[in-house]
């Protein structure tokens, strides 16, 4: 029990890194790249195998991006698709025994959330200029305080929602295995199934919210 949440760290060039998170991230990246490579190895007009999976993801996200972000959303498609595939793989990775999700580390989720929020502000300024700054003072000037709180809350909620759900899922798997004897596997299996569902849902939620935030900033 005591090992939950304790992270092995290494110091490298004066910086501290969580080893497990980094390794699991690389594993997740590797899996995503392998799956993508398998999918595009022999692209055919009539899709087979992994090509179906990638096409479903791409077509679905293209539709969502088109709805949420309009014409300018096209340039964010590779980013959004990568985000979804990476989060899905990361979330599911933690459900395999002896593995951990990269997303059970706040560093990962907050990093991605900050990346998204930085992109929101950068592209907002790039596409809309002063109008983007002006919209923080809507409907009238004092609202800037509330708007700022909202803007700060965005990355925090985005990061903690994903982090909390994935970490809780993994913790409860371990707790259930300790609490319930091995001949009574039903609660663990049920929770595992639920965790698979949660993993997919939160990958979708993170991606959708990122799209919505970016959409607000770049939509005409």
């Amino acid at each position: 029990m005591e090992h939950i949440g304790v992270r092995e760290t290494v110091n490298f060039m004066g910086l501290t890194f969580n080893v497990e998170t980094i390794c699991m991230t690389w594993l997740a990246m590797f899996i995503v790249i392998v799956v993508a490579g398998l999918a595009v190895r022999s692209l055919k007009v009539i899709p087979t195998g992994w090509q179906n999976f990638i096409e479903i993801v791409v077509v679905w996200l293209q539709g969502q991006i088109n709805n949420m972000m309009g014409r300018r959303g096209k340039m964010f498609e590779p980013f959004i698709v990568s985000l979804f595939l990476f989060l899905l793989t990361s979330n599911l990775l933690g459900l395999i025994p002896f593995m951990a999700s990269p997303t059970n580390d706040l560093n990962t989720t907050l990093g991605l959330a900050l990346l998204v929020v930085c992109m929101v502000h950068f592209f907002g300024l790039y596409f809309k200029g002063t109008h983007y700054i002006a919209h923080f003072f809507q409907p009238f000037a004092p609202f800037v305080v509330i708007n700022m709180i909202e803007e700060i809350a965005k990355p925090i909620t985005l990061a903690f929602r994903l982090f909390g759900n994935i970490l809780a899922g993994e913790i409860l798997i371990i707790v259930l295995l300790h609490l319930i004897p091995i001949w009574m596997p039903i609660p663990s299996v049920v929770w595992l199934a639920f965790s698979i569902f949660i993993s997919c849902v939160h990958a979708v939620i993170f991606t959708m919210l990122s799209m919505a935030y970016l959409g607000n900033a770049v939509k005409e």
């Binding site: 999918a39 007009v45 980013f79 990568s82 560093n107 990346l115």
Partner: protein, 166 residues
């Protein structure tokens, strides 16, 4: 348990690298394929629409032609019927005429035959009568009386016999 450190930077970089790799490796070809597919589907649908329109037009033309052909055929049949009727009537009239002619000819022939037979009979009767009369009056009558008798007989014969025959 919750500790923000340099891992965050590493994770962002990791993700950006992944995004770059995926963009080059998977996204671009897949997006291109999807675009191609949607283009080809669009083209197919457009082509199908155009084909359908052309087919409908052709069908319309064919129907028109068929109707025309029907009309023409009907005309031809009608004309042929009229011609046939006329021919038949002409033929019937011709036949009737021929029959009439033949009848007339036959009647004439019969008349001729009868006249001829009558003439023949008349002369034979005369001869027979003469022979009979000769036998009866051979001894009694002289030549003068005989001639007168014959003339009377023939005159009577003409009157009675011809009445009977006619």
């Amino acid at each position: 348990m919750i500790e923000i450190n340099a891992t965050m930077i590493a994770q962002v970089l990791n993700f950006l690298i992944l995004a770059a790799i995926l963009r080059a490796l998977a996204y671009k070809p897949v997006a291109r394929l999807l675009q191609q597919r949607s283009d080809s589907i669009k083209n197919s649908i457009e082509k199908a629409e155009a084909d359908k329109k052309a087919a409908e037009k052709t069908l319309e033309q064919y129907k028109l032609q068929l109707a025309e052909a029907h009309k023409k055929a009907q005309d031809i049949v009608d004309k042929a019927e009229i011609t046939a009727r006329q021919e038949r009537e002409a033929l019937v009239a011709e036949t009737k005429r021929e029959i009439d002619k033949m009848k007339q000819t036959a009647q004439e022939e019969i008349q001729n035959e009868r006249n001829r037979a009558f003439e023949q009979m008349k002369s034979e009767i005369v001869t027979l009568s003469l022979a009979a009369a000769e036998k009866i009056v051979a001894k009694n009558l002289g030549t003068k009386e005989n001639d007168k008798l014959v003339s009377d007989f023939i005159a009577n014969l003409d009157k009675d016999m011809l009445e009977d025959v006619k």
